[in-house]
């Protein structure tokens, strides 16, 4: 790709060939194409299919199945003596399937619950796998070198035949997912209903299990049995933060999986000694953390922002209400008050009060007099009357409808006054019959006016 090369030259790079971290993106080596294609495809199919285990709250099954694949790979090698990817796929598939059946059988015929069954299958199968692997390595068979890549994965070891198999299987899994979208959706949301409308529940569940097994099996060489589960679970968990639609979630998870696969392959290409699996986990986990933090609405940051804004709003409304109480007491709405007077009446930090006053002044609800006193503007009186109204309406509602003693209602109203919407306000007024006085004999400011 001359474009990249000329860009590199423009940036003042060395003329003697591109450094590897850029050369990768020219995709000029067929090997790079293999590795990238293979890892992205398996990331996409594992990410998409993992959404269903995630939504069915059975994420751990992927982990158990991936570990359960190891003895299958070893047995396939011992029987055939070659590292043919197809035999490995069959071996891994068979032993995954045996693992899945074992989990089912343990849950059904013993007192063990699913989590312990998964734990048992995972450790027993993985243990046997390691045992076989050690045995094979001891035989000194030259053909066995590289079998240990199946533990942590090595994308750089993918050759054309591996990639072909990955492509066929992953595209097959994605195709089956599109085909059975409706069935997978209803069985994940409401399995009883799926059964009740005569859906072949067993068949669909078997299909889903097969798709998971296949996605795991094709990822073993590149990602490794230990960390394959990360590609099943984490993209789904990350994608869930961004959307409330299953189809979009599937596409996002596939995209996240594909990118993580790509990233792992990239690192693996640059530094052939690096195992790929851990780097894929690094990528996918970073994407998950980013989603957790920055996703709109569900993300931590967005929640913190909402919380922060609400606190600011509460502070401002509290200041307004305090000034209203002062005005009511003095029967004078123009008079200004000092910072300390407000602080004396309302427990808040000076900084918080200053910020609230600053915003209120900018919004035209408060004016600062030359002698540093703060007074309500006409609009300010109006807004302050509303907050006071809500506070007193709620106090009245609690005493009248819930029969709570008048001296117990203030703290509750302090909170509720900030969250009552105009619609709720109307209903409150109607329910209470347009009241004039609160339980403490204070006047309830009418809509659009003051006392």
């Amino acid at each position: 790709m001359p474009l990249i090369e000329s860009l590199w030259a423009m940036l003042g790079g060395a003329t003697e060939g591109l450094p590897p971290w850029i050369e990768f993106f020219t995709f000029s080596s067929i090997n790079v194409i293999h590795v990238v294609l293979g890892c992205s495809l398996l990331g996409a199919s594992a990410g998409a299919i993992g959404c269903f285990s995630f939504l069915r709250k059975r994420s751990l099954i992927g982990d158990a199945l991936a570990h359960a694949a190891l003895p299958g790979v070893c047995v396939a090698f011992m029987l055939t003596g070659t590292k043919n990817p197809l035999y490995f796929l069959l071996g891994a598939g068979a032993s995954c399937w045996l693992g899945a059946v074992s989990v089912d059988a343990i849950v059904r015929y013993t007192r063990c619950k699913e989590d312990s069954a998964l734990g048992m299958v995972l450790s027993v199968f993985f243990g046997v796998g390691i045992l076989l692997l050690t045995y094979i390595q001891k035989t000194g068979d030259a053909a066995q070198s590289g079998l240990d890549h199946y533990l942590f994965g090595k994308a750089a070891s993918l050759v054309e035949s591996d990639v072909k198999l990955i492509a066929v299987v992953s595209l097959g899994v994605l195709g089956a997912l599109v085909l059975a979208y409706k069935e997978l959706k209803v069985i994940s949301f409401d399995p009883d209903f799926a059964g009740a409308i005569g859906l072949p529940r067993r068949l669909v569940e078997l299909m889903l299990a097969t798709m998971i097994v296949l996605s795991v099996a094709i990822g073993l060489q590149a990602v490794g049995v230990v960390l394959m589960a990360a590609l099943l679970v984490t993209p789904a968990a990350a994608a869930r933060y961004w959307t409330d639609r299953l189809n979009i979630m599937l596409m996002l998870a596939a995209g996240i999986g594909a990118f993580s696969g790509f990233f792992g392959a990239y690192v693996s290409y640059l530094s052939p000694k690096m195992p790929t699996g851990p780097w894929i986990v690094v990528a996918v986990t970073s994407l998950f953390l980013a989603s957790l933090m920055f996703a709109p609405r569900r993300g931590v940051l967005s929640r913190l922002m909402r919380h922060y804004r609400f606190r600011k709003k509460t502070a401002r409304e509290n200041v307004l209400r305090t000034l209203y109480l002062f005005g009511e007491r003095a029967d004078n709405w123009e008079q200004g008050y000092l910072l300390n007077e407000i602080l004396h009446h309302r427990l808040m930090s000076t900084l918080e009060l200053r910020r609230a006053l600053y915003r209120l002044e900018r919004n035209g609800l408060i004016v600062e007099t030359p002698d540093h006193r703060f007074a309500l503007t006409a609009a300010g009186v109006h807004a302050a009357a509303r907050i006071t109204r809500l506070h007193r309406l709620w106090e009245l509602y609690l005493t009248r409808k819930l029969e709570i003693a008048p001296d117990h209602v203030h703290d509750d109203a302090e909170e509720i006054e900030h969250i009552i919407t105009p619609e709720l306000e109307k209903r409150l007024i109607a329910d209470l019959g347009g009241p004039q006085w609160d339980p403490h004999e204070k006047h309830i400011p009418p809509v659009g006016g003051v006392a």
Partner: protein, 260 residues
């Protein structure tokens, strides 16, 4: 004479060899609106699930319109308990209602425009059209229940089995459900409703089935919903039946031809 919409013949259901429903033998006619009432653990939900083939039967059989239930399952609309699913599932109200059409579609077939129209129509019927695109976790409990009812309506059948549709819903939803149930009855549907509020049984239903591990009584509300029958259902004089069941579980005796 036409076979009845629902016919339960000598039905026994067991969990882990312990029978939880004994010898239920009853049939329901078209246009019948029935409350299934009984204490906690009486087997109300189990009866519905057994009828839908969701739990294995220890003995007996269920017929819909004179045919084995498994064959005619798609002609029966099932409304599970609202708490039985995770409402945080990434989907919309309309999508859930559309699931009611899945039974009529071929395996792997996609819903057509006609199915969507039916789903929209059913949402409208339960007064939820404006929430069609809302993610289901953002609906109130009553609204979620309405979505479930709309899904059952979308199946366009004449037999409805509802598991606690009135549980935890607001007053306006309760009213809407009652109106809907009456409408279904007028259309000649058979509607079985697991119900927990004894006070409203005479007002909402025509017939009542009192259930406590066995069918204590079944018939029109006026003659069946009596203090004496309620005492029999809720009185708790079932020690013998529970004890025998417990024995069966401990010894893992096979109850009849039970396989589970």
């Amino acid at each position: 004479m036409n076979p009845p919409p629902i016919e339960i013949h000598d039905l026994t259901v067991a969990y882990h060899h312990r029978p939880v429903l004994w010898d239920i033998d009853v049939s329901f006619a078209a246009g019948e609106l029935v409350a299934i009432v009984g204490p906690n653990g009486a087997g109300k939900s189990t009866l519905i699930k057994a009828m839908m083939g969701l739990v294995p039967l220890a003995s007996g059989h269920v017929n819909f319109f004179g045919e084995p239930s498994v064959k005619r399952r798609s002609t029966v609309a099932y409304v599970p308990q609202r708490g039985s699913v995770d409402w945080d599932f990434p989907t919309t109200a309309l999508d859930v209602v559309l699931m009611g059409r899945y039974g009529q579609l071929p395996l792997f077939g996609r819903p057509r425009r006609k199915d969507k129209e039916i789903a929209v129509e059913c949402l409208k019927k339960v007064g939820m059209l404006e929430f069609a695109k809302r993610q289901i976790s953002q609906l109130s409990g009553g609204q979620q229940q309405r979505v479930f009812l709309a899904r059952a309506l979308a199946q366009q059948t004449s037999v409805y089995l509802m598991d606690e549709p009135f549980a935890g819903v607001d007053a306006s939803t309760e009213k809407a459900i009652v109106v809907l149930l009456r409408e279904l009855r007028e259309q000649g549907s058979t509607v079985l409703v697991v119900h927990h509020d004894l006070q409203t049984v005479p007002e909402y239903f025509d017939s009542v089935m009192l259930l406590n591990l066995r069918c204590v009584a079944f018939g029109p509300v006026e003659t069946t919903f009596t203090a004496e029958n309620l005492q029999k259902t809720y009185g708790g004089h079932l020690h013998l039946l529970t004890e025998v069941g417990e024995k069966l579980r401990q010894r893992e005796w096979r109850h009849r031809n039970a396989t589970h």
